[in-house]
């Protein structure tokens, strides 16, 4: 029997949650900061002249007032017709959002945007938001397929263990430490991989 579903295991959809990716990112260099910030944004409104991007969770270290007139790059995920596209532009204005202190709407000019960028922007904006959210939740909770790296660790661990056992019986006494080291290393590798797998499953269940 599986454990009953409770609220603790509910998927969380916020930009900080692991596994959640955005279709649109804003790359910006905040004033006084040396590091570029990559901010996940949603396309809120789109007109021929400009686009309004919704910033759900502005990091505390970034002052939104300082973003106006800052140069920024809008990165768009592949839309099925074209690969990733980007546009270098400037933040024209900002407005406080309704969802809390870190929720903002940022306006951008699209004068410099080419046809491909506009088409990608329109395609991403036109995606039904409910289905889009459904897939984002899905990405967040779906189990990741086992990678070859994981299998290799198992094979290496198993090989070391079996090799150690074989050496234990085959080699004379003064080579026994080598056999024991191999057995120990193999066992630790397998145990570590099992623990990692268990921890990952547990964190997935907890959302």
């Amino acid at each position: 029997m599986k454990a009953p579903v409770n609220n603790d295991t509910a998927p969380r959809f916020d930009v900080k949650s692991p596994g959640v990716t955005s279709d649109c990112y804003l790359e910006i260099e905040p004033q006084g900061e040396r590091q570029l910030a990559w901010l996940p944004v949603h396309i809120k409104e789109l007109t021929a002249e400009g686009v309004v991007l919704e910033l759900v969770d502005l990091p505390d270290k970034i002052q939104v007032e300082g973003l106006v007139d800052q140069s920024a790059i809008i990165h768009l995920a592949p839309d099925g017709l074209s690969k990733e596209t980007q546009l270098r532009t400037q933040v024209a204005w900002f407005r406080q959002g309704e969802l809390g202190a870190s929720h903002y709407l940022l306006g951008f000019d699209l004068k410099e945007a080419d046809f491909q960028f506009r088409r990608s922007l329109k395609n991403l904006w036109a995606r039904p938001k409910d289905i889009s959210d459904l897939w984002k939740y899905w990405d967040q909770v779906k189990p990741q397929p086992a990678t070859n790296d994981g299998r290799i660790i198992f094979y290496l661990g198993g090989g070391a263990f079996l090799g150690g056992v074989a050496l234990h019986f085959a080699l004379p006494d003064f080579h026994q430490p080598l056999a024991i080291i191999l057995i120990l290393a193999g066992s630790l590798m397998i145990a570590g991989k099992c623990l990692w797998h268990w921890w990952r499953e547990r964190s997935l269940t907890r959302g």
């Binding site: 599986k2 579903v5 998927p11 409104e45 938001k129 289905i131 459904l134 899905w138």
Partner: protein
């Protein structure tokens, strides 16, 4: 105590997710609790509930009733090998071919509801045809079966959305403004598009309190349950949480999670042997799950839920705010 929810529909949009197996299992589990159950195979065009029940050649089917070969629906209920369970076998998609009006469908459903049983379980087919949606919406108890597969999530959400919009379209059939707002959500997005029922409610706020109240009531009454089938691991259960969350955000309805049915090879064996599951397999994991689910279903049959419990507090406060705003305007 009178039964408040007698008619239960089992749908889910997608085929092959175990709706019929679940309907049968739930029926058997309920009958073991002393309830008289009638199963109706409403999977018209793909009827096989009788096969799962071990009946190879049904002596009569829904077709006999739909083509007026019998007067009463009761006359086509066949006795089964499971004590306390009657079965109405499905027919070819004669209902779809006949294209009945809504009123005709309601008459059929009323007869189904009047069948001599404590509970009637309606096994719906796949898809989102109007007939399926109307049968689903008419039922007092609605269960959506799903699996953790991506396609099932997509289909079950589409099914719930279609059912809700069908209900809104029927309820507001003469209100052109509401209909045009509802239809707008289905068109290619444009500036100022409506993407959620919440946004629809905000638009309706302008139309006055009476209409807003009707709409809010419809949402409150649209309660449904989710059941995750073929669960192998704990993360599989997240499928229901995803649907509940998206429904809450975009449809302003919060499906309750009824439970889950573990993946159980005993089910496959029972299907292949044409032995009704969980007959003679009482200790299998899926049989235990069914027992638990049957108890929850029974609890809901006899207990009228407080309407306030049917939507989340967040949704409720949103509706309450809207209603109070509309009241101030009028």
């Amino acid at each position: 105590m009178a039964v408040i929810k007698k008619l239960w529909s089992i749908g889910g949009g997608k085929g092959g997710i175990g709706k019929s197996v679940f309907t049968l299992g739930l029926g058997i589990s309920l009958s073991r609790m002393g309830k008289k159950i009638i199963l109706v195979d409403a999977d018209l065009g793909g009827a096989n509930l009788h096969t799962l029940m071990g009946v190879r050649f049904p002596p009569c089917t829904l077709e006999d009733f739909l083509l007026n070969r019998v007067d009463r629906l009761e006359d086509i209920v066949i006795e089964t090998q499971v004590e306390g369970i009657g079965l109405i076998c499905g027919a070819d998609d004669i209902l779809g071919s006949a294209n009945p009006t809504y009123a005709q469908k309601v008459r059929i459903l009323q007869q189904i509801e009047d069948l001599p049983a404590d509970l009637v379980l309606l096994d719906l087919g796949a898809g989102t045809s109007y007939n399926i949606l109307d049968f689903f919406n008419y039922s007092q108890g609605r269960i959506c079966v799903m699996t953790n597969q991506a396609t099932s999530l997509q289909n079950v959400y589409g099914f719930i959305k279609s059912a809700l919009y069908r209900q809104i379209s029927r309820e507001f059939a003469k209100d052109h403004e509401v209909l045009s707002l509802v239809l707008q959500t289905e068109t290619i997005p444009s500036e100022g598009k409506i993407e959620s029922v919440k946004e629809l409610l905000l638009q309706l706020q302008v139309g006055g309190e009476e209409r807003l109240n009707r709409f809010s009531q419809l949402l409150q009454d649209f309660d449904l349950f989710l059941l995750v089938n073929m669960v192998k691991e704990d993360p599989d259960l997240q499928a229901a949480r995803i649907i509940a969350k998206v429904c809450e955000s975009f449809l302003s309805v919060v499906p309750k999670v009824l439970g889950h049915l573990s993946y159980d090879p005993a089910i496959e064996q029972a299907v292949n042997q044409m032995v009704p599951f969980p007959l003679n397999r009482d200790s299998s994991p899926a049989a235990l799950d069914l027992k638990e689910i049957a108890q929850i279903v029974l609890a809901h049959c006899y207990k009228q839920m407080d309407p306030g419990q049917k939507i989340s507090e967040k949704g409720l406060s949103f509706l309450a705010r809207l209603q109070s705003a509309a009241a101030k305007m009028t």
